[in-house]
Amino acid sequence: MTLELFLQHMVNGISLGSLYALIAIGYTMVYGILRLINFAHGDLIMIAAYIAFYSVAIFSIPWYLSFIIAVLFTMALGIMIERSAYKPLRSSPRITVLISAIGVSFLLQNLGIVIFGGRPKPFQVPELFSKVYEIAGVNIVSITFFIPIITIVLLLGLIYLINKTKVGMAMRAVAKDYDTSSLMGIDVNKIISTTFGVGSGLAAVGGVMWSMKFPQLIPFMGVIPGLKCFIAAVVGGIGNITGAVIGGFLLGLGEILLVAFLPELSGYRDAFAFILLILILLLKPTGIMGEKIAEKV
């Protein structure tokens, strides 16, 4: 393998990894607060991508506005899902909430088929993101640069939000102890909604970038990134934002390098994530950055 080819794969891996990381953060935030795998997270990616597509294609809104609309709409949808499907079940067994989450996910996918149609749609990538640069013999599409940059900017913003603001402090408190924080005068419902909003917003940004990297939209497009990013979150230690980022990069780079070095295994690309997940769960169930929680009887 030549150096150029290797660099090419590394660049692809980093770009894919930061995309995974961005989506994984949303999972981890929701899990941190509600202890719930939000199965619908992956489908929010799909919804965001379709909204961006339609607002450009039908309403001919400039792309940057359409991306903002997609993100805002998805945030609202995320909050709505929490209010209608998860909030009434807050005192139910966790299995019930998990099944409800699976139900929401299937509802979104099938609504996607009914509303958007099952036929794949080509996503119009703005020129800014589709230019191809050649640097030191490596061909790079500009979106490959933009993804890690946007991820880092959003990540910094998120770290500021969580560590320096009052809302962030409340989020940490709710994640630590749900009941006590409500006694301390924190409006728990508002904080949970905010968390869902932020998480869904990140999923939406991830979805728009995903569809610029893989510009083909189908209603089931969110399933695989959804599962993989959840795996990234678990691998890094669910509930931990740094862990989600590490997990995302590990998964993205691992997947690309697996295909690069062992092309005969490329059919197993999607299985790589699951194998990584099972290995991590068996070796260190709390993930790379997770803390061990003693179980109370």
């Binding site: 795998i37 929401v104 299937f106 099938n110 996607g112 699951f274 099972i278 769960l281 068996l282």
Partner: protein, 355 residues
């Protein structure tokens, strides 16, 4: 004989009579749906064992069904047919010449699925709750991805076509021998699960569901029982998968996506996690409803044809059961004569009191 045995025998006799009536009166489309009902009864009851009774949310059922379906198909297809199917890459050595009769192939399909259940369960059941759910989901997907990639064993994404249905039921040649196989298998599955749940193993499963720590303190080997539940559950999933393969006649890896697990989970939740009779009722009614609601996809009563609307309705159904009626149809109770009688008596008693 106790009252319970007599009622069960009567129920079985009624089922068989209904089947005979169905065989003589239904057209082939309705018979197909009837068979599908039986297969879904097997799927739902077996999934209920691990999810409902043992309380371990395992979402790998589609994978075990796939193992059963593929093992069965590879055993019963005749060598000529296999050669026609595997035109890209020939089938590997011992499998390309085997040609088994129906029953041994069915049982081996179950055993293969049970083996898969053991291989998945042994590592995965060390995990709990959400982690178990996602790990088993992962295993189910891995099974599917392996089947897509092992061209010389499973024919990859091309799938297998022309899987024969049995032409005899035991030693009798019958018009619809598959229907008899399906429903006898379903009845055996149900009886087995009822007996299992009433045995000491069944009580151990329920104890694990209620409280793992307390069960362990009572001397129940947690891991052993969880793996046992998983292996039994996947055995019956494999049997169901084999019957599904012979009913449909063609299989390919895409049939065994997570969607299949979701459908069975929907049936189990609607029927009530931890109720065999609930699973049976909901398996039959949801399978029929799924076919009836196909009208939604084709447009009816002035509505335009909207492909996918049917699944929207089903997702909404699952959501509303979970949100408003989380115990499902039966909760974790079983249907019994006494309860039915009590239900009938209650209004009468109330009237008497009013007088």
């Amino acid at each position: 004989m106790s009252k319970k045995v007599i009622t069960s025998l009567i129920l079985i006799l009624i089922t068989i009579t209904l089947l005979i009536i169905a065989q003589n009166n239904l057209d082939s489309f309705s018979l197909r749906i009837l068979n599908l009902c039986g297969i879904y009864v097997i799927f739902a009851v077996s999934m209920n064992l691990i999810n409902g009774f043992t309380g371990q949310l395992a979402l790998g059922h589609a994978g075990f069904i796939a193992v059963g379906a593929y093992s069965y198909s590879l055993l019963v297809m005749d060598p000529q047919l296999k050669e026609m199917n595997f035109f890209l890459k020939p089938l590997i050595a011992p499998l390309n010449t085997v040609h088994w009769p129906f029953l041994p192939a069915l049982i081996l399909a179950g055993l293969m699925a049970a083996l898969a259940g053991f291989l998945v369960g042994a590592p995965a059941l060390r995990l709990r709750g959400d982690y178990l759910a996602i790990a088993t989901l992962g295993f189910g997907e891995i099974i599917r991805i392996i089947f897509t990639n092992t061209q010389s064993i499973t024919n990859g994404s091309l799938g297998l076509k022309g899987i024969p249905a049995p032409d005899k039921f035991l030693f009798f040649s019958m018009k619809n021998s598959l229907m008899w196989w399906v429903w006898i298998a379903a009845i055996i599955t149900v009886i087995f699960h009822f007996l299992l749940i009433d045995s000491s193993y069944g009580r151990a499963f329920k104890a694990i569901r209620e409280d793992e720590k307390a069960a362990q303190a009572m001397g129940i080997a947690l891991f052993k029982h969880k793996v046992m539940a998983m292996v039994i559950s996947s055995f019956f999933a494999g049997i169901g998968g084999a019957l599904l393969a012979s009913l449909i006649g063609t299989i390919d890896p895409l049939m065994f996506r997570f969607l299949l697990t979701f459908n069975i989970l929907l049936i189990v939740v609607v029927g009530g996690m931890g109720s065999i009779s609930g699973s049976i009722i909901s398996a039959i009614s949801i399978t029929i409803l799924m076919e009836v609601l196909r009208a939604l996809d084709q447009g009816f009563m002035g509505l335009p044809a909207l492909p996918g609307l049917r699944m929207v309705v089903f997702a909404l159904l699952l959501m509303s059961v979970v949100l408003f009626y989380p115990k499902g149809l039966m909760g974790n109770e079983e249907l019994s004569w006494n309860k039915l009688m009590n239900l009938l008596k209650k209004p009468l008693l109330l009237k008497e009191v009013k007088k």
